[in-house]
Symmetry: C2
Subunit: 120 residues, 2 copies
DNA sequence: AATTTCCATAACCAATAAGTTATGTAACGA
DNA sequence: TCGTTACATAACTTATTGGTTATGGAAATT
């Protein structure tokens, strides 16, 4: 629904490290240290990624002594999913239409048609 | 499946102008000029966005005299959708588990597990 | 009180992104 | 052939991104 929100969500998902972090968090909460370990990257770099994910609303953080356990938030994903799903359906039907059109043109091959895009 | 492909797809979707372009193309093919018109932006700017979409595989372009009609490509979207859907499901079950856990903790409240604060 | 652990923040750097204006170019129409 | 249309490309600017090292700060341990 909200465009800026979708911006942030998709931008956050555009980085493989952040997707890996989300994949890890899908298995359960994890501290920053635990999230840093599997990557060949400094801890501040991971902290930055976590901030991006947090600003996008994809994760939230708690407190457990010195640890800041991260957990996933499903809502923004649902929005992104809804957006994708909506257009994916449109595009697929669109493709179906296009295929039909191509078949039609193939059949009537003798006459090349110049037309602006307005298929029915 | 392919990480770089997902990178490009999500990055392409992270821009509202590009999402609007895709939404427009979902209604049918359009030329660059037609795509430029609704935006308060120069034609080269739109051409750049189109290149991003094309490199991500989200659109392809044909030839119709001087026009370069753009049409949508559904495949990368399906991949992005699949990724999202997979993790969305994981996350939702994860949340269900968390909720259950919280209920459990709430019920067994008498037993403080954390040695954070001394009992009074 | 001092130290250690866990994490955030600051300051910096190189690369990329998103826009601009100006210019080049392919195809059509007169 | 000449001009026009439709688009791409180049060159440039500014802002953002993704990484680094160095430092700071809160909470637990000793």
């Amino acid at each position: 629904m909200n465009s800026a929100r979708l911006d942030a969500t998709f931008a956050a998902l555009a980085d493989p490290t952040r997707r890996a972090i989300l994949a890890r968090l899908a298995l359960g909460e994890a501290s920053v240290g635990e999230l840093t370990e599997p990557f060949a990257m400094s801890q501040p770099a991971i902290s930055k990624h976590l901030k991006v994910l947090e600003l996008a609303g994809l994760i939230s953080r708690g407190r457990d002594a010195q640890r800041r356990p991260c957990r996933i938030e499903a809502a923004p994903l649902a929005d992104a999913n809804a957006w994708l799903e909506e257009y994916r359906q449109l595009w697929e039907t669109r493709f179906a239409n296009l295929d039909a059109l191509l078949e039609e043109l193939k059949a009537a091959e003798k006459k090349p048609v110049r037309r602006k895009s307005r298929p029915s």
